[in-house]
Amino acid sequence: MSSNYLNSELAANMVALRTIVYREIRRFTRIWPQTLLPPAITMVLYFVIFGNLIGRQIGDMGGFTYMEYIVPGLIMMSVITNSYGNVVSSFFGSKFQRSIEELMVSPVSPHIILTGYVTGGVLRGLAVGFIVTMLSMFFTKLQVHHLGVTVLVVLLTATIFALGGFINAVFARNFDDISIIPTFVLTPLTYLGGVFYSINLLPPFWQTVSLVNPVLHMVNAFRYGILGVSDIRIGVAISFMLVATAVLYGVCIRLLVSGRGMRQ
């Protein structure tokens, strides 16, 4: 294959990637009252009720006020639900309306399709995370202890859940199927993932059980980036996230190439 051909293929794929990402951004900003506003309101309620009212009764946790302690977890929770929710609803919506066929008949490579959808999910996760972070400033002072870890962890987490949302959307056959995983899997994992408490408060048996919850690793790694404290080893958490990203990416590509749920 000539280098000219490869260059033109690469250039065409980059245009296609930009197109998919731009379309995804256009989608979630067009429906901002459904995508950006609700998490902002929910998180403000968490800050007021858990952080302010109940938190005052709880006192310090891990050497920080309760509000300071839960802010990283709440930011992460909004990143997780929104990056997942964006991809699952956008991709399933495309399948439902059959507009996914526009992509399937075009020469866009599966890697570009996946990267486009995942980038859209990550960007919505980051946008909501940013909004929640700004809102948290009204309730507490936020200092970033380790910027590199913070950025890496938030990007990896958003990517992992965007990939998870993609798998959910591929297998989903109706709208119920795209709400089952968030309701019965994602929400319990997030609530039990150390957003509101340190696992050191749990009995040893439940501490060990909690370690298999992937959200615990993400929340603690992010909390380490912001506050400098973590219930688990940061190296283990980041390694786990890197492996999870690679495995999920591989699964998504296989699904796309096979055309599951898209080709007959």
């Binding site: 250039a11 930009r18 256009r26 507009s99 020469p107 490579s109």
Partner: protein
């Protein structure tokens, strides 16, 4: 002239065991305007689905302008524009965005994509609706939007799966002239339609598919030549109570003013009119009972059905 599309021994068996295609062979020359006809469930949409990679073939080969579907799917897709039977665009997007986005999938930079979107939406009479969400467009506008979308990357082969279904006659005729113009510019067109008058008027060559097999593949001219008998309806000036005796013609009265006559192609209608004139029967107008292609189509499909039953 080179080959635009070459299909060899194409088969498709769906997961439920239904065999939609039984090893079809098909060639469409570059620049052709080709009609692919067949009754519902004959295999037309499966064939088009395989070409556009929305359906995975079971076996056989597909080649578009020398690009093999298995080996060079990306190059093949760049040559191909597909207008599907059902609306398959995002109903919440604006018409303009749909066309520009599709261009982006083909790697066309935004500036060129926007210019082309304007050009095709204008040509198809949709420019004044370019900022309207697609769900608010009428059925005919949605069909034209899909044509604009399929053309935006300037394909060499355009496949239209019933593009005029549900479109009023005025709009259908304007779409015919638009498609003819595209074909004259060198774009090879494959058309499936249930309006046989449309196929007869537009297409030079024709393939008829039935039960997953190509039962006819020839030029429109040659196919129409095989039609031995045509049925005409004659509107009579005076009312008749019994059908007239017409030597060599089978005739029956549909009502007192309408006479149906079967005319063998070797006989012609001059003799028919001579005999009617001798009997002082005045004819106000004459028309075909059905479209000529329709008569052939029905007879071919019925013959194939009879063969399948046996």
């Amino acid at each position: 002239m080179s080959t635009a599309l070459s299909i060899r021994q194409l088969t498709k068996t769906y997961g439920n065991g239904f065999q939609a295609l039984h090893g079809i062979d098909l060639d469409v020359a570059e620049g052709d305007f080709y009609a692919l006809l067949g009754p519902n469930g004959a295999g037309k949409s499966t064939t088009i689905g395989i070409l556009s990679t929305l359906v995975t073939k079971s076996s056989g080969s597909v080649n578009v302008f020398g690009h093999d579907l298995d080996k060079q799917p990306s190059a093949l897709k760049r040559c191909l524009g597909v207008v599907p039977q059902e609306f398959n665009f995002n109903q919440f997007e604006k018409a303009f965005d749909i066309v520009v986005t599709q261009a982006g999938y083909y790697g066309i930079p935004a500036k060129i994509a926007k210019a082309r979107a304007e050009q095709y939406l204008t040509q198809l009479g949709l420019w004044d609706k370019h900022n309207v969400p697609s769900r608010e467009l009428s059925g005919g506008m949605k069909r034209r939007l899909m044509i604009a979308r399929a053309l935006v990357h300037e394909p060499r082969l355009l496949i239209l799966d019933e593009p005029t279904a549900g479109v009023d006659i005025e709009l259908r005729r304007s779409m015919w002239s638009f498609l003819t113009e595209l074909n004259q510019q060198g774009i090879t067109i494959i058309l499936t339609t249930h309006y046989l008058e449309e196929a007869e008027q537009l297409c030079r060559n024709i393939g008829i598919i039935d039960h997953g097999r190509i039962v006819q593949n020839t030029s429109m001219k040659d196919l129409l030549k095989t039609l031995h008998v045509e049925t005409f309806l004659l509107d009579l000036k005076e009312s008749l109570l019994v059908p007239p005796q017409l030597l060599g013609y089978a005739a029956q009265l549909l009502d007192h003013h309408t006479l149906e006559v079967q005319v063998d192609k070797n006989q012609g209608i001059t003799e028919l009119f001579r005999q009617l004139a001798l009997q002082n029967i005045e004819v106000l107008s004459l028309r075909n009972k059905t479209n000529r292609l329709e008569e052939l189509f029905v007879s071919l499909v019925e013959k194939n059905l009879a063969g399948a039953v046996v």
